[in-house]
Symmetry: C2
Subunit: 228 residues, 2 copies
DNA sequence: CACTGCAACGGTACTGAGTACCGTCTAGTA
DNA sequence: TACTAGACGGTACTCAGTACCGTTGCAGTG
């Protein structure tokens, strides 16, 4: 019966102590002692006390980067959807561990802030990828890339949190549906550029009425947009 | 010639030292010494070494909260736009100080993370406000509130960063235009709910053609959506 | 003037995260 | 056996942040 490696024992000890005493009330010395290793060994495996909760953000970033790198111009949005699904699946595979982490980040402000900072790095990755894909350096296109990346990440967070709270039985189906909704918000980039030369603008909406009943208000919307 | 109050002297000293030696290379003792006060006094005025860079995030949060609180149901989106403009104006009034902070947050990861965490608090405020406004507790509405809040904040950040980098001469006009673009992405909430009962869906796009030329493809899109 | 209360300040001492460095033990190999 | 490399433990240090205490200065009050 050989003991599990120190890295695992440290993580187990940390989660257990955080549950028992709370995060701030647990020192690194406590964690190392329960894991049966020296304090130095803790910092050899984890850069900080916070990092023991988020072991593999770097790996996850690489995962996204790799998936996006395989995309051609016509498959860019598919790559984005795939990358988001990949991240979600990663958390789901963690199972109970992800839920314990969620319980901690919900209570401890320092951990929540760190989580948010990590998510911002994902968002940056998506934003740069989408901006490159658009290939249009104007301020307007840059804004659209920013909005799109923010929406993509928000959709992921929304589905993930639902699953973490036990409100979702099929998170993969939910993320696919959410991504469809996000992508539907944004026009194809080839069409958008033409609009700046004073074309017709059609805004997105959904209604119970049929198309013919909608035409008058459609026209009004279009004229309002081109007039303002 | 009376000296400025300690709070100001500390901020000045901190920014000066961060410029000279860098953030990590500057200790709180250094800052206090240059400001001519004791170390204790530093922590009386600023909760942490990072906080000296971001003095008034709490006040800004209150500003947003107050503006949103005055909104009625029909003026909710106006309140959101106003609140965002308020935040942007706050930074602009800081002028050079905001630009120095930007230079610091661009270099120091710890400061950038803190900035991001603060922005996330704004986003949460907007998300809760929008969700309340929608008054629809379904998962779909919750996602839409999340997407909208994320887009609102992303638009603000985009315009703010452009101004901070000196790429914008009229940031107020830019934020108004950006907010128009954001709000155009999202259908009115009364219309959205009907769509789930199998109504007509109109997707957003822009084109150089006029509306009549577009109708056939519009119909095709709608049938494709209701069929899938 | 003497007294009181209060607010801002300075100093000391402490906890705990994170870093640097050094010595030790052990497994694998020539 | 001798050598080497990696994982480990221990010590000592820096620095952020907290707790506590005493001091100073200034307002108002008798």
């Amino acid at each position: 019966m050989s003991k599990p490696p120190a890295r695992i024992r440290l993580a187990d000890a940390a989660f257990a102590l955080f549950d028992e005493r709370g995060y701030e009330q647990t020192t690194v010395d406590d964690i190392a002692e329960r894991a049966g290793v020296g304090r130095t060994t803790f910092f050899r495996h984890y850069r900080s006390k916070e990092a023991v909760i988020f072991p593999d953000h770097d790996r996850l970033l690489e995962l996204i980067r790799d998936r996006l790198a395989t995309a051609g111009h016509s498959t860019a949005l598919v790559a984005v959807s795939d990358a988001v699904r990949l991240v979600l699946l990663h958390y789901i595979e963690e199972g109970d561990l992800a839920r314990r982490r969620y319980a901690l980040t919900s209570k401890v402000a320092a951990l929540r802030d760190r989580e948010i900072a990590s998510v911002a790095r994902y968002q940056r990755l998506f934003r740069e990828f989408i901006a490159d894909w658009m290939g249009d350096p104007t301020a307007s296109a840059s804004l659209r890339a920013e909005l799109m990346a923010a929406s993509v990440v928000a959709a992921h967070n929304h589905v993930l949190r639902r699953w973490l709270r036990g409100e979702s039985s099929d998170p993969v189906e939910e993320i696919d549906e959410a991504m469809r909704e996000v992508l539907a918000l944004f026009p194809a980039p080839s069409a958008t550029t033409a609009a700046h030369d004073g074309g017709t603008t059609v805004v997105a909406f959904r209604t119970g009425q049929d198309l013919d009943a909608l035409l008058p208000s459609l026209r009004r919307v279009i004229e309002g947009a081109s007039g303002g």
